[in-house]
Each structure stands twice: as structure tokens, then as C-alpha cells.
């Protein structure tokens, strides 16, 4: 798929534009999510106003936070492994930006139009585990080591339901290319009815629920927040981090939340497609990102709503849920989807 928009530009110019847009998109979406959900929605749920001082309705609170953390001292503990400790935030943020490349937001608005698409995304999503383990190990702190190990155990356990849930979608769409998955949903029919297409949340509902649960665990949000449990581990692998380095972990967390929500909306909610408009029409290059944004905000609202409603799991309950429930159900979902695909 060659884009008319970029037809005259050399590869380096194109890539420069894509990287610039990607950085802006990830940071702006992450900022919007923190303000809307973490600052405001949660405050209203708890009968308080949230930040109100910086800017109208506290909308500049984020800039104030960044400014505050920029001025804080950068402390490397004496016993820490300086290289590993310092490199961990780089790895975590890099993994987020490796993940966002597979997300398309319109017929010509993609970062990488790869045939491997979601497969590539699932592969690079595990890189963040490395960064978190580096942070936990490099800090040379008992809380951090425990938090890092807990995070690793949790992330690899929930990586599997996540991947296996995606396979159901790949079977239905017959492709791993993210844009083609959107087209497959737009052109799909359920029992001959094609008015709304076939967003896979309808036919892959089980996979969607597994994906949401695994996503919650991958993001280490409550009820899966044992790795960063304040009351047990003093924020786990982030205990020894201060100032800007601490904030970078935080930015990485919310940027990844946005990217995972974008993945879920492409895979299950039809991506930039809205019923009634041809998804390959040129107008979708303008409307597509807005449609995506609405779906991302909706999905992340569910994530944060759950986060502030559910109590924390115990470590054994966590592993049991992944290995004894989610993985067998996801495998059954693959088999059933395969049988239905072959028979119909």
C-alpha cells in the first residue's frame, strides 16, 4: 500500500515525519490519559476534585509535575550497579516506542506497514520485562529485587493469555497485518448482516475479555499491582529511583497503557472503522485518529475504573488465574475458532 500523501518523499524524510508524529502521539495520549483518568475521573469516583490550581481545572498539572521532577536530585545508591540501574528507564521507554510502531490510525497513517504486524507487536512487548528486571536487580535493594521478580513472574505469566487471545483474531482475519485486520472487520458479516461490519468483540468476545484481563496485568494496574505494592514493597522496583528517572517509569507505564488500548481497539473494536464510512476512503486519514482516540479513551477508562475498584490479588491467586483459567480458556478459544472457521 503506497501512500499518495508521502509519494514524493524519500525514505529518510518519511521516517522522520513518522517518528516525530509517533513521539507526539504517544506522549500526548499518555498525558491525556493521566489527566482524564488518573487525576479527574478517579477523583470524582472518590468524591474529591483532584488538581484544580495549575491552569483551568488543573489541566496544566502535568507540566507542573514534569517541572518539579526535572529539578529533583538524581540519586544513585552507593551499592547499586550503576550501569544497569541507569539503563533501566531507557529500556522501558524504548519498549513502548517499539510497540507503538504496529498501530495504524488510518488508511495511510501507519508507522510500519508490516505483514507481521501484531506478531511483531507481541514480540517486542516482552522487552519491557527486561527493563523492569534490570531496575529491580540494579537497585541493590531488597524491596526492589522482590518487586522486580514479582513483576517478571507476572508479566511472563500474562504474556501467554495475551498472545493466545490474539491468535483467535488472526484466525478470523486470516492476516497479521494490522490494517488488513481492520479491513477484515469492516467487510465482515455476521449471519449475512453487514451493517456494522464484524468488530471482533462480537465474535471473539471471550478473547476480548482475556485480552483485557491480561492487559491489566501487563500494565501492573490493580488488582494486579503486587510488583509495585506500596504497602508491602514501597513501590517495588522503583523504590530507589528518584526525580526524573522515577517519572520516566511513570510515563512509560501510561504510554504503554495507551498503546495496549490502541492494540485492543484495532484487534477487537474495528480500529479506525466506523459503520457507514468506507475505511479506505481518504477522509479516514482525518477522522481515523479521532475514532481511535475515542476507542482508546474508552478502553483505558475501563482499565482505571477496575484499578480503583478492585482490591489487590495475592501472589498465588495471580499465578493460578493465569495458568489454570486464562491459558486453558484461551487454548479452547483457538480450537473452537479454528473449527468454526473451517466449517463456515
Amino acid at each position: 500500500m503506497s501512500s499518495a500523501l508521502f509519494a514524493e518523499l524519500a525514505y529518510w524524510q518519511q521516517t522522520g515525519i513518522r517518528v516525530g508524529v509517533g513521539l507526539a502521539a504517544v506522549l500526548l495520549v499518555a498525558g491525556a490519559l493521566v489527566y482524564m483518568h488518573l487525576f479527574k475521573a478517579v477523583s470524582f469516583m472518590q468524591s474529591r476534585l483532584g488538581p484544580m490550581e495549575a491552569g483551568p481545572y488543573g489541566s496544566l498539572q502535568l507540566l507542573a509535575e514534569v517541572g518539579k521532577h526535572l529539578q529533583k536530585e538524581d540519586i544513585f545508591p552507593r551499592k547499586a550497579d550503576r550501569f544497569v540501574f541507569g539503563a533501566a528507564p531507557f529500556v522501558v521507554l524504548a519498549s513502548t516506542f517499539l510497540l507503538v510502531v504496529v498501530v495504524p490510525a488510518g488508511p495511510d497513517l501507519w508507522f510500519v506497514d508490516s505483514e507481521l504486524g501484531i506478531y511483531l507487536g507481541m514480540a517486542v512487548s516482552s522487552v519491557s520485562v527486561l527493563g523492569i528486571l534490570m531496575a529491580g536487580w540494579g537497585s541493590s535493594n531488597k524491596y526492589s529485587l522482590l518487586g522486580g521478580l514479582r513483576a517478571t513472574g507476572q508479566l511472563i505469566a500474562y504474556e501467554l493469555p495475551l498472545i493466545l487471545a490474539v491468535i483467535g483474531v488472526v484466525i478470523q482475519a486470516g492476516t497479521m497485518n494490522m490494517a488488513d485486520i481492520v479491513y477484515a472487520q469492516a467487510n465482515g458479516e455476521i449471519f449475512g448482516l453487514g451493517i456494522v461490519g464484524n468488530p471482533y468483540i462480537l465474535t471473539q468476545g471471550v478473547a476480548f475479555i482475556i485480552f483485557l484481563i491480561a492487559m491489566q496485568a501487563e500494565l501492573a494496574q490493580a488488582p494486579f499491582d503486587m510488583p509495585v505494592a506500596e504497602s508491602e514493597l514501597v513501590t517495588g522496583y522503583m523504590t530507589e529511583y528518584s526525580g526524573m528517572r522515577f517519572l520516566l517509569f511513570f510515563i512509560g507505564e501510561f504510554a504503554t497503557a495507551g498503546v495496549f488500548a490502541a492494540l485492543a481497539s484495532v484487534l477487537f473494536l474495528g480500529g479506525w472503522y466506523v459503520p457507514g464510512i468506507d475505511p479506505s476512503a481518504n477522509i479516514m486519514n482525518v477522522l481515523g485518529p479521532l475514532v481511535m482516540l475515542v476507542k482508546i479513551v474508552g478502553l483505558t477508562f475501563v482499565v482505571f475504573w477496575t484499578r480503583f475498584t478492585m482490591p489487590r490479588f495475592r501472589e498465588d491467586q495471580l499465578q493460578r488465574l493465569a495458568w489454570k483459567f486464562l491459558i486453558p480458556i484461551a487454548l479452547a478459544n483457538i480450537v473452537v475458532t479454528g473449527i468454526l472457521k473451517v466449517t463456515f
Partner: protein
């Protein structure tokens, strides 16, 4: 360079952009922040009391067992993805093949389950 390899180059550039972003933030902070390390500040945090013993201590063996199980299923997922893409072509033959494959792996999970590996004690 072919389009295929170029798309991987783009992925690499995005990774570097993430690294550059962190470098810019930390570099900006370097100009603004104070640096005044004291012995107390640099000690490991243990809720206010003086830290004791070696920080790189032993950890639960369970993490290792789950990591092994993870490798088993992750390799499985690598094989299922290409199959899932081409199921329309393989039809019944592919379905039976994959059913056998998943059955064998499920046996592995059941074995670990029976052995009590999935219990966190």
C-alpha cells in the same frame, strides 16, 4: 534495501527515538537539578532502619519454574501464529494437525499441574 528490511529499520529507529527521549529528559534535568550526595542519601532504603546483609539475596524457586513453563508456551505461540494465518488454505488437515499439537502441549501443562508446579507455596 528492500521494503521488508526497511520496515525493520523503521522499527529500530523508533526504538532509538525512545532512548533519545529519555536522554533529552535526563539531560535537561542535569542542567536544572542540584547534586549534593551525602552518605545518608546514598544508603539503600529499608524503611528508615540501617540496611543489613547482602541485597542480592536468594529468591523463591517458583519464579524459575514459571519461567520454564513460559518458554514452553511461548515457543508454541510462535508456531501457532503462521498456522492461524493460513488456516483457510489448510482447512481440515491443518485443523487436525494443530489439534494434535495443542493436545501434546496441554499434556505438558496438565503434567505440571498434577505435579503441583502451578501451586504457589
Amino acid at each position: 534495501m528492500s521494503d521488508f528490511l526497511r520496515s525493520y529499520l523503521t522499527v529500530g529507529i523508533f526504538g532509538l527515538a525512545g532512548v533519545a527521549l529519555v536522554a533529552v529528559f535526563l539531560g535537561l534535568g542535569r542542567i536544572l537539578r542540584p547534586s549534593n550526595p551525602t552518605v545518608q542519601k546514598l544508603t539503600s532504603y529499608e524503611s528508615g532502619v540501617d540496611p543489613t546483609g547482602d541485597m542480592w539475596s536468594q529468591a523463591n524457586i517458583r519464579y524459575y519454574v514459571f519461567a520454564l513453563l513460559f518458554v514452553m508456551f511461548d515457543v508454541e505461540a510462535v508456531f501457532i501464529f503462521p498456522w492461524a494465518m493460513r488456516l483457510e488454505v489448510y482447512e481440515l488437515f491443518g485443523l487436525v494437525e494443530m489439534a494434535i499439537f495443542i493436545y501434546i502441549l496441554l499434556l505438558g501443562l496438565l503434567y505440571a499441574w498434577r505435579k503441583g508446579m502451578l501451586r504457589w507455596v
